[in-house]
Symmetry: C2
Subunit: 138 residues, 2 copies
Amino acid sequence: MAVDGAQLWTLNQRLLSVVMDACSAELAELGLETKEFFVLAEVAASPYPAELAAALMIPKASVTVYVRNLVAKGFIRREIDDEDLRRHRLILTAEGEAARDRALSALAAEFDRRLARITPQDRTDLQRILLEMLKSPE
Amino acid sequence: MAVDGAQLWTLNQRLLSVVMDACSAELAELGLETKEFFVLAEVAASPYPAELAAALMIPKASVTVYVRNLVAKGFIRREIDDEDLRRHRLILTAEGEAARDRALSALAAEFDRRLARITPQDRTDLQRILLEMLKSPE
DNA sequence: ACCCTCTGGTACAATTTGGAACTAATTCAG
DNA sequence: CTGAATTAGTTCCAAATTGTACCAGAGGGT
């Protein structure tokens, strides 16, 4: 086979760390650590710690830490869920939304700086290919 | 723009963690931690700790730890470099090569299981696109 | 009601990671 | 040659990460 899966994998991995590295300074200006950013960006879609842990594939204990930091920074707040008193519903504050949006555009900008080297056709191809590969097995 | 850089980025990231997660059990059977595996796989191309740190973008201190573990497990050994007595030339043992090759095929197999869903043309496209995006800026 | 099990979240402890200081070897300027 | 500057690698220790134990509430079954 012409394309080696392992090599492709490391390529991909390296691309991600290069991009993230290039963005970390901008995230820091917004008051966000890298990991915290991922949590912040996912809160709207997965508003409970357990959901965040599952969605981001990180341990519950780590979510606890990042959420605590984000709360301390005023980016999100907790509310007790009416349906289930064990659950902490996480809600983005106005500052949180602003920070998330700016962080997302910084990230997108850096990624786009690299996407810009490839044709629009390649971009849609890349998206299609990644989506296909991400579908759960079988 | 139709393709959102930030979304593409998270897609890509998730793909990598899903694949790595699926492989970690097999790596463990070979006696390899995830991070150690990356070092082992890179040793042939970057046979000195400093080169490994640069290639893998991890701190020198971490390389020290992983190399020590890999040596303890008998996967690599050190030799003083004749040219420069400060350098430790790292050499794969027969066991190390075997473990690396099996780990690589496990990883490739998992990645391929997902690559298999896309056409051969898409695979070469993916490789080309990633390589292009990885080139250092300007 | 009670007990048993499961789930959401946290706290603490143990492990892992990585920055900074350190030693040893090299290189280069004078 | 001497000494400053550089580089390879390690050690030290503080910070980040995470496994485990835990508590509180939910959802059974009896």
